[in-house]
């Protein structure tokens, strides 16, 4: 048997809730899988779908988006906008052939350190079972036409 596949997962999180929740998991010394890399943003409202495509293009096997609980956003409605956008974005994903299961959405508050640790373990396990993501070449085209960077 070969070594088990270790997925790479990029997480886009808001600084007020989920990032703080991850900090809490740390200060509580909870242990979880090391596969996730966090990108800190002010609010989930800032997370553009292009970030997700970029991460997948760069070789991430999965993407996690996590912010404050609905109705609990530091920025009044940012996460509400984010949620609406994801609904549309999901449709686009399946259209481009990226399986929806590669992208996870969740809401984690600053108080939910344990939930954060569980989430990371859960997501890592799920993406691991999906295996490596190899369709990113196809994404190249989309990204080149849409992004200036």
């Amino acid at each position: 048997m070969s070594e088990p596949f270790e997925p790479k997962i990029v997480a886009f999180v808001c600084t007020y809730c989920t990032y703080a929740g991850a900090d809490l998991a740390g200060t509580s010394r909870m242990k979880y899988a090391s596969n996730v890399r966090i990108v800190r943003l002010p609010c989930t409202g800032r997370i553009s779908p292009m970030f997700i495509l970029k991460a997948l293009q760069k070789g991430a096997d999965g993407v996690l988006v996590s912010g404050c609980h609905p109705g609990d956003c530091h920025f009044a409605q940012g996460n509400y906008h984010a949620r609406r956008r994801w609904t549309v974005f999901r449709a686009l994903l399946s259209f481009t052939g990226i399986p929806e299961e590669r992208i996870k959405f969740s809401w984690i508050s600053a108080a939910e350190g344990a939930k954060f640790a569980e989430l990371i373990n859960g997501v890592t396990e799920e993406i691991r079972s999906l295996g490596p993501f190899e369709q990113y070449q196809e994404l190249q085209k989309i990204i080149e036409t849409q992004s200036t960077y």
Binding site: G26, S34, I38, V39, P42, C43, G45, R46, K54, H81
Partner: protein
Amino acid sequence: MAKIGVFVCHCGENIASMVETAKLVSTIADHPGVEISTEYKYFCSDPGQETVKKAIREHNLTGVVVAACSPRMHEQTFRKACAEAGLNPYMLEMANIREHCSWVHTDKKEATDKAIEITRSLVEKVKRNNDLQPISVPVTRRAMVIGGGVAGIQAALDIASAGREVVLVEREPSIGGHMAQLSETFPTLDCSQCILTPRMVEAIQHPNITVMTYSEVEEVDGYIGNFSVKVRKKARYVKMETCTGCGDCIQKCPVKKIPSEFECSLGNRTAIYTPFAQAVPNVPVIDRSRCTYFKNGKCGICKKTCQIDSIDFDQQDIIETLEVGAIVVATGFQVQDTSGYGEYGYGRYKDVITGLHFERLASASGPTAGKILRPSDGKEPQTVVFIQCAGSRDVSKGVRYCSRICCMYTSKHAMLYAHKVHEGVSQIFYMDIRAAGKGYDEFTRRAIEEDKAGYIRGRVSKVYEENGKLIVRGADTLLGRQVEVQADMVVLATAMVPQHDAKDFAKKIGISYDEYGFYNEAHLKLRPVESSTAGIYLAGACQSPKDIPDSVAQASAAAAKVLGLFSKEHLEREPVVAMVTESTCAGCWGCATACPYNAIDHRDINDRNGNLIKRVASVNPGLCQGCGTCVSFCRSNSIDLAGFTEKQIFAEVMAL
């Protein structure tokens, strides 16, 4: 060329025991753009910070990455160090290799690899950081207090006494709020009017306070330090400037049978009236809907009576726009409408009343001159039953919370009743007695021990009439049986609920509220007097049910926050705000509709002759909170967020 310094902290053993810092340092040293990479036991310590500063100066660093704890811990520390060494403080990023790495992983190799990737991606980000300057906004050092109850009066007096101007806006003809209606107040039983009236007078006479009664806020524009508020001054039909408050007009007005709102309809008022004798200002208003002159042009007796010609039937509402830097919302509460309480007979039986009615009956200046007389026949009731939690803590009535004051005022009512009707019997149905507060438990004890208040633990299921007596049927859960008590009068301790228009008002001024309509504080524990909107503060019962001591304490706290804001002429804010690239902006306003803070406006670009070339989006940095929602909405990449630009984040992702 980027010259980045990377400083890897051991945090004692906290990081170094799981992450191989030497490997991290050497790997990052080879990364393009990294000028110096080094490690130390505690970079947050004084010698640690000195090392960073020295490196910035010696190597002319253009950016710094501190690989250590969470930015929520020490970002400010290192920003300050950068600034002291002459580097723009926003050229710093923190790589969180403690909370997000060494503390949560158990495999050294995995942790080290992860730490390298985290640090590398932030090096890539910091290379694209820009020099930013904190945003400075001027502050209009004048406050508006909305609501002239005891909370609003206190906040206004505190701000004014510290030397700042205040506009106090009250929608009723007089300030005073609910406290003006109360008889005596727990836990000291001092007369409410006696302690409140002097404060009302102080407020109206204070040189720094402008009191606007019979006025309502129509619109709030602007942002912290710079609000512009439109206030409607409703027509009083009495000239404020000349009226002396002699009251001749009130005496002569022939329309006398209007149920008085202030007296909870236990007494009447005229069409031209002041809500109560000690009203401040003591200038009457004409109730247009009841006045004969406004109905058919006849009467005008008040005008003929007034010796100084202060009646003016032609007055119109006036809209005034006021510039203020801070707003204190102190709009108070109302008692729950008990019409949903068919089983308690409210509205059906005249002698089933609310606690507020009881206050008016017990008040020396009330409709019965302080005698406890029942509304139906004016007789002195020999037994009074009080029902606590009438509405509160009752899911079926839509109020899950405890109103906090009813246990106390019911004890007070039983005491006042005992003091006035010596042979009277009081029975109180209660769920628990909640008397937490200075002198509060002692107070309820006194009601039981000295004033013979009879407490029955249990809920009331029904109040009905039999042979001219009210019968209260309920459970006595301590004795485990049903009880029926005869009563001459029943007093419901109805729930304290938000003002009927609380939600609409919140939307008008842009603050958030809970499921009931009480206004949300920025943080329940740590920022209890700030609303969710910067520059708008909360005081009193509009935030949650409160008694007078708590309302006053919160009002003084809100005043302190306002004065803190007013302590400087300018306000400094984090420069994380959106900015528009005008050359590419297509003027689609996608960003403007997305912005939850209405921070995006139009801006016209004109040529030299003043002809419009195009219209672009323009961000008001005072209003922008830096959420970045607009950025992800822009289809032409024309709007970006300082500190979290598209370039920065893409670079960060690419390096992971």
